[in-house]
Symmetry: C2
Subunit: 359 residues, 2 copies
């Protein structure tokens, strides 16, 4: 048979996929598996979003504008302004999920062989997007004992080479839950300007802050507008992972024009999902307050009970809905497998994601 | 500002985009512009598809399986079997439009610098998908005077180099409307086997055949299963371009497994669009019969009236819904601009796509 590309062959597959098989077998045996391994929200989406689709009155589904409808982008501008982000409709490209936004960002910024720096641990798919774009990920370790705060600037600085094109952050972070401070973001903005590289920040968990300082967007730094790119998505905010609607936002117009070429190529984002996403922005503020309260309460329950177990060390995530835990086990993957194959309590068990999948 | 990638800068933009500005201005002046420049169907989608979405009862939109739901793939297997295509559910990856299917195919088959051969003229975005994947397009001219049939085998053969990884066809063809015969497809399958390369066929216009031989899918060739990939989409068939649902089908399991890695990366195809696409397969056969009759009737009207104009030469497309015409004008782009800026009849005009955008 014909040879396939190295890209497809070298693309990493998440170690989670092995565990999925055991979780399926547990379910077949009648054990209920609680999926703590994936960011798949179980809270209802805004009624406004669902109603917009079920009350829609389309005869056919035409292509929409490649950058997203103007009406949606106008509402996004108003939404972002409530988060101290001042942008215009031309600064936004609506994408098919944050996945596409990240793919666009990497393709527009990096040529094959270029490097991006990412604090580790990081969302496993960042590795995949980078591989698919033939970009090398250069990790900089962040530490459990300091809640995974930004690594020391000298540690980042020493990774910068002529091939470095960007630093990529997730803020609040998947998987650590760390919320980068204004000071940390501003410091990285200065670094990006100094080395004339980009700072890309994935802010899909913007709202999910469990006390402490408010979230500070990379786009709120006025000086670094030509060097910053923000990635967003409706997936987690509105429990609409299956919608596949995200956005790429930047004040760098040349970058946006190049992203638009990739957007033209794939024609348009999905129609119904766009309708739902636009309507979700009309949900009352109480909707997101309720969602955040629920996630904060679950976080507190998790931390409280884990801390009662001897030899378990728990990080205290201030954002998103993930939590990294040090368990007194030899191998987290074996333990996760054990939970699915040999353990249950009242016929229930949990599926975890071994942290090594994020390194 | 930081340097952007060559990929983004070199990505071709369709010459149509310049004309779009003139069409917008014409509309502002109150002139109705009939868009003959784009494959945006105006026929109603199947009622079953629309109803599936408006009657849906979701509380939230979770991620679905990356390869598409099993129920949809099962229905696709039944649909394809009616077109003499014998495949299983594991041979199908459901994609976010044919655009994504083509991107996956190129990324899985080609490394940077590899070549694909495409009969010219071809769908302009093939150039874009290739550029985005750092793949070189090697065109082989097909001729107006022979209705754009497959170029002579020796012309294709002489383009094959050690870097050639695939031949890409659109059948029925956008933009020529040519329908490749069983003999032509079988010949290319033999060539693919002989040189151990892939034959990728975009069959999104499968149903739109205006008389003559029936459509022959590349997957109906039993011998070349390890060398063939079929690209599909619901966009044109069901007037659902905005759904963004397509598929990549191949009997080559290693290729499918590699495509699945790219599919995992972007998580899942859009939920509502999948529901609509699955339900569309339950539409009665009369639905597509009506659609095909309508397009055949429009094609016949177009050809009949164009042939009455002196010095106009008209191709006789046997499939899809495009038609390439030789007009007695110096420059087709100037003429298309003229139609939008200085011409109207009863306050109506047409927007055309200059054929040079397909070379």
């Amino acid at each position: 048979m014909p040879q396939l590309s190295r890209k497809g062959i070298e693309l990493p597959t998440s170690p989670i996929r092995k565990l999925v098989i055991y979780s399926e077998r547990a379910k077949e045996k009648g054990v209920e598996v609680l999926h703590l391994n994936i960011g798949q929200p179980d809270i209802a989406a805004p009624k406004e979003a669902i109603d917009a689709v079920t009350n829609s009155n389309l005869n056919l589904l035409p292509y929409g504008p490649s950058q997203g409808t103007l009406s949606y982008r106008e509402k996004l501008v108003a939404y972002y302004s409530k988060h101290s982000i001042t942008i215009g409709t031309d600064d936004i490209i609506v994408t098919t999920g944050a996945s596409e936004a990240l793919t666009f960002a990497l393709n527009v910024i990096c040529d094959a062989g270029d490097e991006i720096i990412i604090p580790e641990p990081f969302y496993a798919n960042y590795n995949g997007f980078a591989s698919a774009a033939s970009v090398c990920v250069v990790p900089v370790i962040s530490e459990f004992h300091s809640q995974f705060q930004l690594p020391a600037l000298e540690n980042i600085n020493e990774k910068i080479t002529p091939k470095t094109k960007a630093i990529l952050l997730c803020n609040p972070s998947n998987p650590t839950g760390y919320v980068y401070s204004k000071n940390e973001i501003d410091t990285l903005c200065e670094l990006a300007i100094k080395h004339d590289i980009f700072l890309i920040v994935d802010e899909v968990y913007r709202e999910f802050i469990h006390g402490g300082d408010p979230h500070y967007s990379v786009l709120s730094n006025e000086k670094a507008g030509q060097h910053t790119v923000m990635i967003d998505s409706v997936s987690k905010r509105y429990s609409m992972c299956g919608a596949r609607v995200g956005s790429l936002v930047s004040k760098n117009n040349t970058l946006i024009q190049n992203v638009l070429k990739f957007a033209h190529l794939r024609l348009s984002p999905p129609t119904y999902a766009l309708m739902a996403s636009e309507a979700a922005l009309s949900a009352p503020e109480s909707y997101l307050e309720g969602v955040i309260n629920e996630y904060t309460s679950r976080r507190n329950t998790l931390i409280k009970h884990l801390e009662q177990i001897p030899y378990v060390e728990v990080s205290h995530p201030m954002g998103a809905f993930y939590c990294i835990v040090k368990l007194p086990v030899k191998d987290a993957e074996d333990f996760s497998k054990f939970l699915l194959t040999d353990f249950n309590f009242d016929n229930q068990t949990v599926m975890l994601a071994p942290a090594k999948g994020f390194y």
